[in-house]
């Protein structure tokens, strides 16, 4: 199955997020690699995903899971070679799977040669590729992102006897985009990968590219100008490729990153994610409705990317203090589960391994406006290990079978980059791909069917949304419409059975057909349409008029 030519492919995609290191180890060194990942592509094709987002795989000291890059145009030797990557890319494309790679523009590792040169002397030509100061008083009031580890956005460099600016860890100096050489160098990096054939670039930490005194140093017009410039070059030289923004900001601020359809093609909708969890725990649609009401319209060629969990903590930066406190109390009572301003847990443990809640949340993910992203392992309900430090607890080896090292690697267990999950509930003996492939009612099988139903139509990926607002606030109901196709989605957010009356007067005469079993339901009439839903149950109905 070759890639379909469609410049808006990212709108219809179902993206699978993974780190090469975590997925499959082909050479028994305890670390996943591109050769191993290539071997597992058929699994991903069977799952139904259409794109893979790879976390950073570049050479790096790995002090921030690869987001501290020391060489932009190579593959970390632990993961294989550039040739391995090319082989993987071709194999993925052959299976109709597109590849999105992570690209960190905002900062490098302090081990990157650029920084090594910059700190070597104040006269070095690379000196002003980074942001230096003789004091640590500049840009006062700018928030610190990693509150658990950093006390300032300035760090002292003992070699050049001056301070350098960093928004993330102090070993990740920010690049200076006021220096035109930086942008050109990074565009060359992007071209390198685009020339190899990657389909999309996920640009990390976008809001922080430019600093200005007296501002928050976030979302500045100069930052948008840089993105606009990169997009122009991309459209000219690489049509059909995609830029995805990581901007953990309010929807209104992120909206600016779409520009007039001339900045990013897609951006993460960060505030929606915690509110989906909150709505289920509160058994009330209010949090979801509120955040979607605050979400502005975006240009037709643009798309939100939505997700439940990812490689980072479940970020609670975009919620109020009250909401954060509630999320902590409900989902992270054990303080070990908390990091920075978020929760370092996987989907299944967060939901208490309740299959109904896991299905409901995935149902929301696949039916809300946007391109869904599935985090590796969540399709089988993998657990986490909150005692591994940082966010490594949600980055443990993929669980393929109940054999040695969960089928991830043939290395000695002691050599694995991370211990596999081995507890009684989420351990690889209980939760693994092979066993779920063989079980007709497994979560994996169910996920495949969910993705299959979603992929069968563009109504979920491109359709409009219209909320029905039934008086029962435990129900979240909406119509998705694209062209002639209309789908009704009704979700019961509560742990108990609910009766819901839907105002479908506008669709009088339509016959609802349940999309998973393809069963007919009673025709919509004059009166409100009464549905009863079991705990956490949801329906997707295709509406037909015959």
């Amino acid at each position: 199955m070759a890639l379909q030519k469609d410049n808006l492919w990212y709108k219809d995609a179902v993206i699978y997020q993974l780190h090469v290191r975590t997925f499959c180890d082909s050479n028994a060194d305890g670390i996943g690699d591109f050769a191993g990942l290539t071997q597992r592509l058929d699994y991903l094709r069977e799952l139904g995903i259409t794109a893979i987002w790879l976390l950073p795989f570049y050479p790096s000291p790995l002090r921030d899971d690869g987001y501290d890059i020391s060489d932009y145009t190579a593959v970390h030797p632990s993961y294989g070679s550039l040739e391995d990557f090319k082989t993987f890319l071709t194999a993925a494309h052959t299976r109709g799977i597109r590849i999105i790679i992570d690209m960190v523009l905002n900062h490098t590792s302090d081990q990157h040669p650029w920084f090594q040169e910059a700190r070597s002397s104040r006269e070095n030509p690379k000196r002003h590729w980074y942001v230096w100061s003789d004091t640590d008083t500049g840009y006062q009031g700018v928030r610190i992102i990693f509150l658990d580890t950093e006390t300032s956005n300035w760090a002292w460099d003992n070699i050049s006897k001056s301070y350098y600016w960093h928004r993330f860890f102090s070993h990740q100096p920010d690049l200076n985009f006021d220096n035109p050489g930086v942008l050109e160098a990074l565009w060359e990096v992007m071209e390198f990968w685009l020339n190899l054939g990657v389909d999309g670039l996920r640009l990390d930490a976008v809001p922080y590219l430019v600093e200005r005194e007296g501002t928050s140093c976030e979302n500045l017009p100069e930052t948008h100008a840089i993105i606009h410039d990169l997009r122009k070059r991309l459209d000219l030289l690489y049509p059909g490729r995609m830029l995805l923004a990581e901007a953990n900001q309010s929807p209104a601020d992120v909206r600016a990153y779409f520009g007039n359809g001339d900045e990013f093609h897609a951006a993460f909708h960060f505030p929606l994610m915690p509110r989906m969890f909150m709505a289920v725990k509160l058994e009330d649609r209010k949090p979801i409705m509120e955040v979607l009401e605050q979400t502005p319209e975006i240009p037709d060629t643009c798309q939100w990317c939505i997700f439940l969990r990812n490689h980072d903590e479940l970020t609670l930066e975009m919620v109020t203090d009250i909401e954060r406190s509630y999320m902590y109390d409900e989902y992270a009572m054990d303080k070990t589960m908390r990091i920075n301003r978020g929760i370092r847990r996987r989907l299944a443990p967060m939901m208490g391994n309740d299959r109904r809640q896991i299905e409901l949340l995935n149902g929301l993910l696949m039916s809300m406006p946007g391109t869904p992203i599935v985090y590796y392992g969540d399709e089988i309900g993998m657990g986490d290990n909150i005692y591994l430090g940082d966010r490594n607890g949600v980055r443990t080896p993929m669980q393929w079978n109940g054999g040695t090292n969960a089928g991830f690697s043939m290395a000695d267990p002691e050599r694995l980059y991370s211990p596999v999950i081995s507890n009684a509930v989420y351990g690889y003996q209980a939760i693994n791909v092979d066993s779920q492939r063989r079980s007709e009612h497994s979560l994996l099988r169910w996920m495949k069917s969910l993705i299959q139903v979603r992929n069968a139509s563009q109504v979920f990926s491109r359709g409009s949304i219209h909320f029905l607002n039934p008086s029962n606030h435990r129900a979240l109901a909406y119509m998705r419409q694209f062209g002639e196709e209309t789908v009704l989605v009704v979700n019961n957010l509560s742990s108990s059975a609910q009766a819901v009356e839907l105002d479908v007067q506008r669709y009088r005469g339509y016959i609802p057909i349940e999309m998973f079993g393809r069963n007919l339901f009673p025709r919509f009439g004059e009166r409100p349409y009464l549905l009863t839903l079991g705990p956490y149950q949801f329906y997707w109905f295709r509406l037909r008029r015959i």
């Binding site: 209010k286 509630y326 008086s471």
Partner: protein, 429 residues
């Protein structure tokens, strides 16, 4: 509507949509959209400030638009669609609003019956009833009614207010001390416009076969409090601040006030006689906030007129009073009624005996009960006159000490009430 139920289908449909709740606040109104609007805002602010995580509902029992405020009421409905948003604080959940419409103004009893039914069906943990007549009820005041119940410590929360020292004299000199002596539980504001209660008390009261009784239809709140006391539920009082009546609904005359409260209290004595006749306890009620707060601005009460009404009433109602009061009590009343205004004083022991005679006669129905309660009016005026004279210069603390002495007198004479209550009485036609 289904048969044999007072719950309208529309209300039931709304309740279905709400589901189980933690907190329920009920308000009853007949039109008067401005007062309703104020009450709804106060409740919503209370939820936003104090109960951010809880599942909450406002149940509004409305008896239609009889004051020409239809347009304002429509405006309220539109307003109520949106939550009140306070900077930095907002309910995480939907603030549900349910409206029960009656074609004519519902009596307080019917309104409470509806609210209790809603509370029971929604399995509310803590509830409060709020009056649209109280114009200055604060979000904190509403929270004070709900919190003691929600925290699981109490089943009934009576309000306490800041009052002028001459305000609430009926409660101070009669309702509070008498109910405290009889039922053994010192709730100061037995008759109030707002109170809190638990879901289990709501269920208990809902299932009592009393809702057809006129006394319950008119003033159900004391019965609910007494039900809590006599069922050994946990009661407390919560301070709500200044009591300010809105223009509408205030200003009832003393005869009507006596019918609504004293008549109701006598009916409650009748209802719960099997319990209080064997009850000898008198327990203090835990209080959240100040126990009492009095102000003493100058007052323009016409004491002379009050005294004259007492004296003429005793004369005019002599035949009725003779059928109600014990002869000795009646003789003493007539004796003090003959005193000059300057030397007149209504002793507390006589006042207590008088009331106990009235209560017993009410029980024995010696005359028409409504007439009986009305006959108390001149005597109450005499007591009021005596109180005003005695306390024209008293400080709040002195008044409080006097009030406590009156309570003790009621308790001391409780055996007299029991004796008269149980006596065989020949009913005069």
């Amino acid at each position: 509507m289904a048969e044999d139920t007072f719950l309208a289908d529309d209300l039931l449909r709304q309740l279905m949509s709400v589901g189980e709740v933690d907190l329920l606040v009920g308000i009853s109104s007949h039109g008067n959209a401005i007062a309703v609007s104020q009450a709804v805002h106060a409740i919503e602010q209370s939820f936003q400030q104090e109960f951010i995580r809880q599942r909450v509902v406002i149940v509004h029992v409305d008896g239609g638009d009889n004051d020409g405020d239809g347009a304002a009421a429509a405006g309220l409905s539109a307003l109520a669609e949106k939550d009140v948003r306070l900077p930095g604080r907002a309910s995480l959940r939907t603030v549900h609003r349910v409206k029960a419409d009656f074609s004519s103004p519902p009596s307080p009893g019917i309104a409470l019956h509806t609210i209790l039914a809603a509370a029971d069906l929604l399995r509310a943990r803590a509830c409060a009833v709020i009056s649209t007549a109280t114009s200055n009820l604060t979000p904190g005041g509403i929270a004070n009614l709900l919190r003691p119940v929600y925290q699981g410590k109490f089943d009934f929360v009576a309000p306490l207010y800041t009052r002028h020292k001459y305000q609430g004299l009926l409660a101070r000199n009669l309702l509070y001390p008498m109910s405290r002596a009889v039922f053994g539980c010192g709730i100061r504001e037995l008759y109030s416009d707002e109170w809190g209660f638990s879901g289990r008390l709501a269920a208990l009261c809902l299932n009592q076969n009393v809702w057809h009784e006129e006394a319950i239809r008119a003033r159900p709140e004391a019965w609910m409090a007494i039900s809590a006391i006599s069922s050994e539920f946990r009661c407390c009082q919560a301070f709500l601040g200044q009591k300010s009546q809105s223009t509408k609904g205030s200003g009832t005359d003393i005869v009507e006030a006596l019918r609504q409260t004293v008549g109701n209290l006598f009916w409650c004595l009748e209802c719960r006689q099997s319990w209080w006749l064997d009850c000898d306890k008198s327990e203090p009620v835990p209080t959240i906030g100040p126990d009492h707060e009095l102000t003493s601005e100058p007052s323009d009460l016409n004491r002379h007129r009050i005294f004259e009404m007492f004296r003429s009433g005793v004369t005019e109602l002599e035949p009725i009073l003779s059928s109600i009061l014990d002869p000795e009590t009646h003789a003493e009343i007539k004796s003090i009624a003959s005193l000059e205004e300057q030397t007149f004083r209504f002793r507390s022991d006589l006042w207590v005996r008088t009331l106990y005679d009235f209560a017993a006669s009410y029980h024995h129905a010696v005359i028409n009960r409504d007439h009986l309660v009305q006959a108390l009016a001149p005597l109450y005026r005499g007591m009021t006159y005596s109180f005003l004279v005695a306390h024209s210069d008293s400080s709040p603390d002195e008044m409080e000490a006097e009030s406590e002495m009156l309570c003790v007198e009621f308790e001391r004479q409780k055996p007299y009430l029991r004796e008269r209550w149980k006596a065989n009485v020949e009913v005069k036609s």
